[in-house]
Structures are given as structure tokens and as C-alpha cells.
Subunit: 79 residues, 2 copies
């Protein structure tokens, strides 16, 4: 898995993306960093239950679905 | 604004939510922590450009819309 630190530079955090699908139960948190002056693309950094941090491709359907699933599930259950 | 640290306990991170809408340009990042053994609800922590960290209500429509906007905009522009 491409580690966060590997491709780190002073602009964008992510240099390469994890291509394998991360099951929700392996996910501790997911951080979304909108594009801005520091980086021209939105970045998504997942923290796994192992502590590992990996970059996800914000254009990948499964990544957007994962983020939506996490927030929509909450909304459905809480009303 | 309710600071992250204020309501911190060893289980959930968030104790109270920001009720005011955060404009996207004030947002540096948004972190989603799915529910788990540590906390029975999904938590959403926003980091502002000022460095401040605040808890958002995952059940609030504007919060889900903000998260969706950030990831969907990226997908539309990148293909």
C-alpha cells in the first residue's frame, strides 16, 4: 500500500493512490482535504485500524461510495 | 463555536455540534470517523483555515451536502 509519507511534498499530500478497495471495517477514519492554493485536487486520506494512513483516489467510484455510505448510514439511523 | 477539546472524552470525540453553516472556503479539511466500539455514532470533525477544529452534526443536511459537494465536485472535474 502506498504510505502517506512516501509521496509527501510541500504541496499535495498524496502522490499515489491505493487501488485496492478498503472494506469499511478496516477504516478508522477518512479525511477529506478540499483543493486549494496548496494543491489543485481534492485529497482523501484514510486511516486504517492498523494505524496506517493511505491516500484514496477521490475520482474512484468506490471511494465516493464509501464516504457517502458512512455519512448516509448515520443519517438514516439517526433520522 | 464548540471546540473539539471541550467535550472530549475517552469514547466519542464530539460532545456538542457547530450549528452554524461553515462555508466551503473556510474549510481546510473534514474528517469522518465511522461509528465503532469507541463511539456509537459517526463523527465529523472539520478543520478550519484558522486551525480551529469543530464537530459537525452528521445528521444535518448541510453537513452531508458539504461532504458530498467536496467529493462530487472533484469527480466531475477529473472525470
Amino acid at each position: 500500500m502506498p504510505a502517506l509519507g512516501k509521496g509527501y511534498n510541500s504541496h499535495c499530500l498524496c502522490f499515489e493512490f491505493e487501488s485496492r478497495v478498503i472494506p469499511q471495517e478496516r477504516l478508522r477514519s477518512v479525511e477529506i482535504l478540499p483543493r486549494g492554493p496548496h494543491c489543485s485536487s481534492t485529497e482523501i486520506v484514510a486511516r486504517l485500524v492498523t494505524g496506517e494512513k493511505i491516500c484514496l483516489n477521490p475520482s474512484a467510484t468506490w471511494v465516493r461510495r464509501l464516504v457517502r455510505y458512512v455519512i448516509e448510514k448515520e443519517a438514516l439511523q439517526r433520522g
